[in-house]
Amino acid sequence: MEHFDLALVDWSRAQFALTALYHWIFVPLTLGLSFIVAFMHTFYYKTGDEKWKIMTKFWMKLFGINFAIGVATGIILEFEFGLNWSNYSWIVGDIFGAPLAIEGILAFFLESTFIAVMFFGWGRVSKKFHMLSSWFVAFGSNLSALWILIANAWMQNPVGTKFNADTARNEMINFFDVALSPTAVYKFLHTVSQAYIIGALFVISVSAWFILKNRHLLFAKKSILIATVFGLLASIFVAFTGDSSAFDVAQKQPMKLAAMEGLNDGEKNADLYAFGFLNDRTDNLNFKGIRLPSMLSIMAFRDAEAFVPGVNDIVNGNEEQGILSAETRMEKGRIAIQALADYKIAKEKGDTELANSTLKVFETNYSHFGYGYFKNKEDIVPNVPLTFYSFHIMVALGLFFIAFFAWLLYASIKDKLVKNKWILRLSVWSILLGYIATELGWIVAEVGRQPWTIQDLLPVGVSTSHLGIGSVQTTFFMFFALFTVLLIAEIKILMAQIKKGPEEGGSHV
């Protein structure tokens, strides 16, 4: 890929990662907190109890602050697609167009309309319509996430489409194959359910702080109870969807799975690391630790005897297992690239026969297209240590959350929360653990799939625009400054509202 400036690619990649990671600070809180507010609002509607009204208003206010600060931060990703990633944007345009258009319409009608009713509607619309507006905001937010995640899932598992060699664009041939691919379904369920954990941890964190300060005790205990039930259900669901996601990754992105588990050489009865670390810093594939026998085979293929390919099998090939080597795929990829060039020339010359034959060669080798851009077979290996550690810390935190929510639920039911200062202090800081887990999740998903923007078809290096590196560096630091200011503003405004407490809160955001 000498044609592409790697420094430019790395800066473009760093800028996108920065934007996505910052954007993902605001989004999961919106997704999770919206449902908790809707639950509280429903309790108020059902009981008419003013305590529920106070709770609904307080958490709605904090939801509103996060929503307001975070809204439109994702649009920056679209700016970057258009400028930095123009080749990629053009190639996937039709696939991203439909889900993002639906997302825009849904976001506009559901969120924009009902969020105003939710905040301005106290005493001005019927109680039922007001309560339903909270649910519409929650569902609208989550539906917005659905379409974005469908687009992301397609990059990891490009199905339901056909590449048009005349226009250089992927065209959708079956919307439902794109929208309902297992990758999309698992990605959506796993992503939103861990966002619910963030929402629950946020409520627990703030409420625990109130209890430690001996303020609003009844309010805080009730809030913790609701958040704990929600968080416990979400964290158990996350474990199942995470398992399903790993199963899907094993089928569609075996290199990512090998990186997640630091699996060098494939094996039957492959073990899963319960805990592991890099044994030799000079060798990125040499891990050791405590292993769970055959669990990787079970997780990846639902069969303890199943062979799980390692990095070496995917790079060098494994004839016995029917795995093509990277060099074979690179050769086929080069044939596909050359056939595309020949097809274009044949079309321009009006040579239909040659155009048809070159198109056939292109289509035959298209599944290896992206490999044709690599010079070295090792280029197809992602950053294994980063993927491994991110995956294992995320899983450990996921399991911790189940135990944490279960313990909190027990303590809430038995009314033992107030006396347990250490669990309250842990609860205050638990939101940070939630954010670490969710950001690590994205690192696993996105670093683990490197070097691809579209799995097997388009490497990151070929996706970028020819820009001056200075302009990408400048906007990188601009975004860094902008997002940091927004984050500081969010924390300051949230803290101010939290310190005011529930009773003193006004009715509107």
Partner: protein, 78 residues
């Protein structure tokens, strides 16, 4: 017909009034929040988008055919 138009107008007036009074009754904190939102949107759409993030292909080419040809050239000239 006149009655239906009157009803539509009445509903529109109610919606506008709903939003206007909602904004008017906001707390000072909420007003500050809206100020942050407006400043952010201004920075995003009127500074970043216009001066720093033009669409690369749109700024170089007029037609989809030109854009497609350029991308194919990018894909095949490696």
């Amino acid at each position: 017909m006149v009655c239906r138009l009157y009803n539509i107008n009445n509903t529109m007036n109610k919606i506008i009034d709903f939003y206007l009074s909602g904004f008017k009754n906001m707390s000072i904190h909420s007003r500050k929040l809206w100020l942050i939102i407006l400043i952010k949107l201004f920075i995003l759409f009127f500074i970043l988008k216009i001066f720093f993030f033009p669409n690369f292909l749109n700024s170089k080419f007029d037609t989809d055919k030109e854009k497609g040809d350029y991308v194919i050239e990018q894909l095949t000239n490696n």
